[in-house]
Symmetry: C2
Subunit: 168 residues, 2 copies
């Protein structure tokens, strides 16, 4: 499985929506600005996420996007599969299982591919947006049950230049 820039953008947008989960709909423009993503491209991505029912939209003035489920119930695998396809390094799990049954000559190779897929699935199907999104930007209040994410909260400052520079 390869994660494309599009897939990364989707994950970043979803993380941002997770952080603001209690704030109602967020405009595309605001997501694009804060995450430093190309606005029109992001629009397409959000459309796909909406069609896959991972987010929902509010139309018209004061509209925007929000998660359809709490961050703790959205797995990274859902987003990655939607945008970048199967987690397997070659084909998909079903195809690999078929090849393992049918292609005696290369069976052991496909078995390794499937192992790699299973290892990725194990991680990505158990990690949720709540695990990685960062602090809910709403006030501290109560009942925030974020998991690990290593205690300390990040010093802010988002700078475009750094992000842009990481485009390979």
């Amino acid at each position: 499985m390869k994660i494309s820039h599009k897939g990364l953008y989707a994950l970043q947008a979803m993380m941002m929506l997770a952080r603001r989960h209690d704030q109602g709909a967020i405009r595309i423009r605001d997501i694009a600005y804060e995450e430093v993503l190309p606005e029109k491209f992001l629009e397409l991505i959000l459309l796909e996420l909406k069609n896959a029912r991972l987010v929902e939209s509010v139309r018209g003035a004061k509209g925007g996007y929000q998660l359809r489920r709490p961050p703790s119930e959205i797995h990274l695998s859902e987003i990655i599969r939607l945008i970048d396809g199967p987690l397997a390094p070659f084909g998909d799990a079903e195809q690999l299982r078929h090849l393992i049954d049918r292609d005696a000559e290369h069976r052991a190779l496909y078995r390794v591919f499937l192992q790699v897929r299973d290892a990725a699935a194990k991680i990505l199907e158990h990690t949720t947006l709540a695990d990685i999104a960062g602090p809910d930007s709403a006030k501290s209040g109560r009942g925030q049950r974020r998991k690990k994410l290593e205690s300390r909260v990040l010093p802010m400052v988002v700078h475009r230049s750094v992000r842009k520079g990481t485009r390979e």
Copy 2:
């Protein structure tokens, strides 16, 4: 990491050379015929494998290709990295570590990417051609030391699985 057809062809060719490791140089044509691969494309692939010193060639009539090391000393990760690049699902390990250090906002996401990479690396850096190539076709053709493979290749059990069983 995504394995392309080219990468698959390389792995198949290497498996075939591993099976015939004791038989001296094998012609491109024979590899292509037996593995059913496009001959001229395979030629390019073998050239790359040669430049990476995974195989060596014998030129002229009676020439061909053979492994430079015994199958048990050639890891799948070497072949895959050569043909299809880094094992990480995004960028490479070094880049991910850099992002984890620098990009506080997305640190947790990149950490997950790195976990996925490490899981793939663990498998592919420990599996060799000897583990998957099948019986050495030298001598009396059939099944010699095949069982060690079975025990090595699948001991990982996924708990709380979301998918349907991986058979076995």
